[in-house]
């Protein structure tokens, strides 16, 4: 049993092959492969490109809470490159050339089925979500297909130590309505990817899961996994088709672990362990501290080329995060559902964008070649509704940031496309990493075309 991923040249990528012998790469690993211009690998290929999805729950504030179908405060009045930074976008001032804002787009994938928040989450995959027959049991839903980060990870994840990583900041997410609201990365309907909430765990996963070549347990760990794979492959012949798919996923994951045990550690400087925890202090979540720690770790992981794909769940769909740093005491979801609190929602939106801006700045402050990590990354950021008050999936607040390795418009623009399919934005982002990707999403959310004005 060999999984598809094993056939990729992970080990070759992790080791520089010189004359058939293995050598450790110099530090940092990518610099060694740059040409004289600092722009490409010695073999002529470009610098690695990365994709991040970044999510917050419950939408943004309305321009007028008395008009729930009306405009959002979020968007600038003008379109094009010289758009005004609204107060909601002001946090991006330091990186504004990297930031595009897209208005008017709708979650086309959400139209066969409607259910507040569940439908908006489909923006991350472009596939209509799946309702589980509730009978008289609790409602639950799943994603209808892979999220954009996992579409990309499926293509390029085999080139790095970790195919992707899932990070989260606020723990106050909903776990009672199924996978759709709980997770923002999905390989498929039954395969949500759990997120890491504690920066110390993220550090472990990114920087402390390498196996030394001389580790005496190594051959026995591999032998154990081989035995497990034999069990799983034999079992597959005796179970239902659906369980067969689940065992395929199991086998893929075992193969991935096997390849990680067998891989050389990336020869880059391992940062010191982070000490930031994600525990409440005086009843308050350390949201900004955790966001900073996670953003810093992500920049380090990209610089070391440990992974090229990430998702960050800043707050959850229907999440009840309290923006205590703003003096608020109400859960965000409840707050967005009360028109009288529109100003408080707006303050939370601005705070959310400031946290996103921290990540963008962390990437932009990490140099790579002649530029920085943000030049070679794309960050797709959005929510599960236009505004929580309306539950609308029209006119979604969308930010696309980064240079995409030169594939994205620079400086960034405000593009307005009323009724546009939000999956077109996903495809645009995905193609900065996988230029040949034919399509993304499915059903009414299917996209085969990029957003022209967003691309360079």
């Amino acid at each position: 049993m060999v999984s598809k991923r094993l056939q990729l040249s992970r080990r070759t990528m992790l080791r520089g092959m010189v004359g058939g012998s293995v050598v450790a790469l110099a530090l940092p690993p990518l610099e060694a492969m740059l040409d004289a211009h600092g722009e490409a690998h010695a073999d002529g290929s470009g610098l690695p490109r990365r994709l991040v999805t970044w999510f917050w729950g419950n939408g943004v504030a309305l321009a007028d809470p008395g008009n729930a179908g009306g405009p959002l405060r979020f968007f600038p009045g003008e379109t094009g490159p010289s758009y005004t930074l609204t107060p909601q976008l002001q946090p991006f001032a330091a990186v504004r050339d990297y930031v595009s804002v897209l208005s008017g787009y709708r979650v086309a994938a959400s139209y066969p089925l409607r259910r507040g928040h569940h439908d908006g989450c489909a923006i991350l995959s472009g596939h209509p979500f799946i309702e589980l027959p509730p009978g008289s049991a609790n409602y639950a839903s799943k994603f209808g297909g892979p999220t954009v980060d996992q579409v990309v990870a499926e293509e390029i994840g085999g080139q790095t130590f970790l195919p992707s990583i899932q990070l989260a900041v606020s723990r106050r997410i909903i776990s009672s309505e199924g996978f759709s609201l709980q997770f923002i990365s999905h390989k498929g309907p039954d395969q949500p990817l759990s997120q890491i909430f504690d920066p110390r765990e993220a550090w472990d996963r990114l920087f402390a899961s390498f196996t030394a070549p001389e580790d005496p347990s190594k051959p026995h760990r591999l032998a154990a996994l081989d035995a497990v794979m034999e069990d799983a492959a034999q079992l597959k012949g005796r179970v239902s088709t659906n369980d067969g798919y689940r065992l395929d996923a199991h086998l893929d994951a075992v193969a991935q672990l096997r390849s990680q045990i067998d891989a050389l550690a990336p020869a880059c400087e391992i940062p010191p362990p982070t000490t930031q925890a994600n525990d409440e202090v005086g009843g308050n979540e350390p949201l900004e501290e955790v966001n900073r720690a996670m953003s810093d770790l992500l920049a380090l992981a990209f610089a070391c080329d440990i992974t090229r794909v990430a998702s960050v769940q800043f707050t959850g769909s229907v999440g009840y995060t309290v923006y205590h740093m703003l003096g608020q005491s109400m859960g965000h979801h409840d707050m967005t559902h009360d028109g009288g609190l529109n100003d408080a929602v707006d303050a939370a939106t601005i705070e959310t964008m400031a946290n996103l801006a921290y990540l963008l700045e962390a990437l932009s402050l990490t140099s790579e070649g002649t530029g920085n990590l943000l030049d070679n990354s794309v960050v797709f950021a959005s929510s599960d509704a236009s505004s929580g008050l309306s539950h609308s999936v029209e006119n979604m607040p969308v930010v696309v940031a980064g240079g995409g390795g030169g594939a994205l418009a620079h400086p960034g623009v405000h593009l307005r496309n009323d009724g546009g399919n939000s999956s077109d934005i996903l495809l645009s982002c995905a193609r900065t990493v996988c230029p040949e990707l034919p399509q993304i999403g499915g059903g009414p959310g299917l996209s085969t075309s990029t957003v022209a004005g967003l691309m360079a």
């Binding site: 899961s209 996923a249 009843g283 005491s329 109400m330």
Partner: protein, 554 residues
């Protein structure tokens, strides 16, 4: 308006389309069939039963840890770290039957398997599986024996020769390489604990010899399903022996084994975990409250609340073996000093840290579950009450009725609430909105009757300085306060039915299908006949035909 609801409910079961009328239960008030059995224990498998397909079901996190404890001891269990569960349809076990594993989970299973075997080696419990002398019988033969005996217990069935050889090879190679037979055993066991045969409940079934058109669980599969449901861990030696001997092939044999399992202390914990999930008690410890409004809120107070409800369940089910519907009406409770002061109970000063039985005697209109601060705090916002959440929970989780979602695109905002002074007045405005009234008039009036309890369960007579009107109704019957609501709920036929359905969902890892209705009806009847004894219900669920048969894998 009906058109709007019907449109948004597309894709839901047809039964839920009519969901916005008070008293309309998606499940219906199922009445016993009135066909009394012939006293043979109801062992006939009804012809109309269409079993659900079997699915690989991950051991729940706690079941995995308990299994490690049974296999390798407390020191090993202390370092077990299987990945968390993800619920679907409100149940971890339903999620565990559908989730496909990814890299993070496989990493966690490997890490855990290596940590527990290492801890067991250090603690000396690993060597209890060594019943041969490798120097005498030879390392291969001895390793075969270790793998066979450990595997039979860990995988809950005898291993095939191939399987023994596969893992024995891992162990003997490691023993040779590491120069120690016991280190080899450790590697073999770590491998076996990563196998799908340990990680999942594997249910393939076999043709039923009495009726070749049907498939039933094998004896070992059934023993495993029973054991993980009733005691949250692996079958013990006696249950495995029952399976070996085919003693679980009829309802009476199953009942006998089940009653024995219920005498184990793990049965109490297992049922407590069920209520921790279905009544969300396990969420209390991480439940956020606004400390500006409620400075007394603390993990210790939350734990006192959790213990109160858990203790009442334990008392009714295990100490008294009483009619479980009394959980909604009990005029006594189990309160520690902290909670006693919180409630303002006169004798609080005499209470200790552990919950002690106290008479409520009409105190603050409290009686039963709805008078517990656990319920009131869980079903509230961080700083205010939520009659909607409380009403929704009663309908969905206690009565198993379907409450449709807010219509998408419709503003969820309360209309101008400038003149509203209390939560009730605000929500009554909500109900005046035509797009909201259908469902909110199902939920909110139930919660209005609990407005005397604030967001952390203290009794109050005013909301923001204005007097509270706690007059309310459920299914047209008026009530005021927790005791009144509990009395109605205990009399509502859907309550017992809902308990049966929820316990069955947890036990089998799926939401019951139409084809299983005949078995659900029989379970409801049996629960009723037992006088709503939970222990009887647990036993009848495992003895139910629907628990013992499976569909052909498709």
């Amino acid at each position: 308006m009906r058109g709007t609801i019907a449109t948004l409910a597309l894709g839901l079961a047809a039964s839920s389309l009519a969901g916005c009328y008070r008293g309309d239960s998606a499940m219906g008030a199922t009445v016993g069939l009135g066909e009394d059995g012939d006293g043979d224990g109801g062992d006939e498998i009804p012809a109309e039963l269409e079993p659900a397909p079997a699915a690989l079901r991950l051991l729940l996190q706690r079941q995995h840890v308990n299994a490690i404890r049974d296999l390798l001891g407390e020191e090993a269990a202390a370092v077990a770290s299987p990945p968390p569960n993800f619920a679907l349809n409100g149940f971890d076990s339903v999620g565990a039957s559908q989730q496909a594993l990814s890299d993070a989970e496989i990493d966690a299973f490997e890490h855990s398997a290596r940590a527990v075997t290492e801890a067991a080696a250090a603690a000396g419990s690993l060597s209890t599986w060594l019943a041969c002398d490798p120097a005498v019988s030879g390392p291969e033969t001895c390793m075969d024996q270790v793998v066979g005996s450990f595997g039979r217990r860990a995988w809950r069935r005898p291993l095939s020769d191939d399987e023994v050889a596969r893992y024995s090879a891992v162990g003997t190679a490691a023993a040779a390489d590491l120069g120690s037979f016991e280190l080899g055993m450790q590697e073999a066991m770590a491998a076996m604990l990563q196998s799908p045969y340990f990680i999942y409940q594997v249910e393939i079934g076999e043709p039923d010899p009495d009726d070749p058109t049907r498939r039933r669980l094998t004896q070992h599969e059934l023993a495993t399903r029973m054991s993980f449901f009733l005691v949250d861990t692996l079958p013990d030696a006696e249950l495995l022996a029952d399976a070996d001997a085919g003693r679980l092939s009829d309802a009476d044999g199953i009942r006998e084994a089940a009653w024995r399992l219920l005498e184990r202390p793990e049965a109490r914990r297992s049922l407590a975990e069920f209520f921790g999930e279905v009544w969300r008690l396990r969420d209390l410890l991480s439940l956020p409250k606004d400390l500006g409004v409620f400075p007394q809120w603390s993990p210790a107070l939350a734990e006192s609340m959790r213990m109160e409800t858990a203790a009442l369940v334990e008392d009714l089910v295990w100490e008294q073996d009483a009619d479980f519907l009394e959980v909604f009406t009990a005029d006594y409770s189990f309160v520690n000093a902290q909670l006693g002061f919180h409630y303002g109970l006169p004798g609080a000063v005499d209470l200790g840290e552990l919950p002690t039985r106290v008479a409520l005697a009409g105190h603050d209109k409290r009686a039963g579950l709805f008078g517990h601060a656990s319920f009131q705090a869980l079903l509230a916002h961080v700083s205010t009450t939520s009659p909607t959440l409380r009403g929704k929970f009663v309908l969905e989780n206690i009565l198993c009725r379907t409450v449709p979602p807010p219509p998408p695109g419709v503003v969820t905002d309360l209309p101008d609430t400038g003149d509203a002074r209390t939560m009730r007045e605000r929500l009554e405005l909500h109900m005046s909105e035509p797009s909201c009234s259908g469902c909110h008039s199902m939920m909110d009036p139930i919660g209005f009757g609990l407005e005397n309890y604030d967001s952390i369960g203290r009794f109050r007579t005013e909301d923001d300085g204005y007097p509270i009107d706690a007059s309310a109704e459920l299914d047209g019957t008026p009530f005021d306060g927790a005791a009144g609501l509990g009395a109605i709920v205990a009399q509502t036929p859907g309550t017992a039915s809902c308990l049966v359905h929820n316990l069955y969902r947890h036990a089998t890892g799926h939401v019951e299908t139409e084809g299983e209705q005949v078995a659900m009806d029989a379970l409801e009847e049996a629960f009723e006949e037992s006088g709503h004894r939970m222990q009887d219900l647990m036993v009848e669920i495992v003895a139910s035909p629907a628990f013992r048969v499976v569909a052909e894998p498709e």
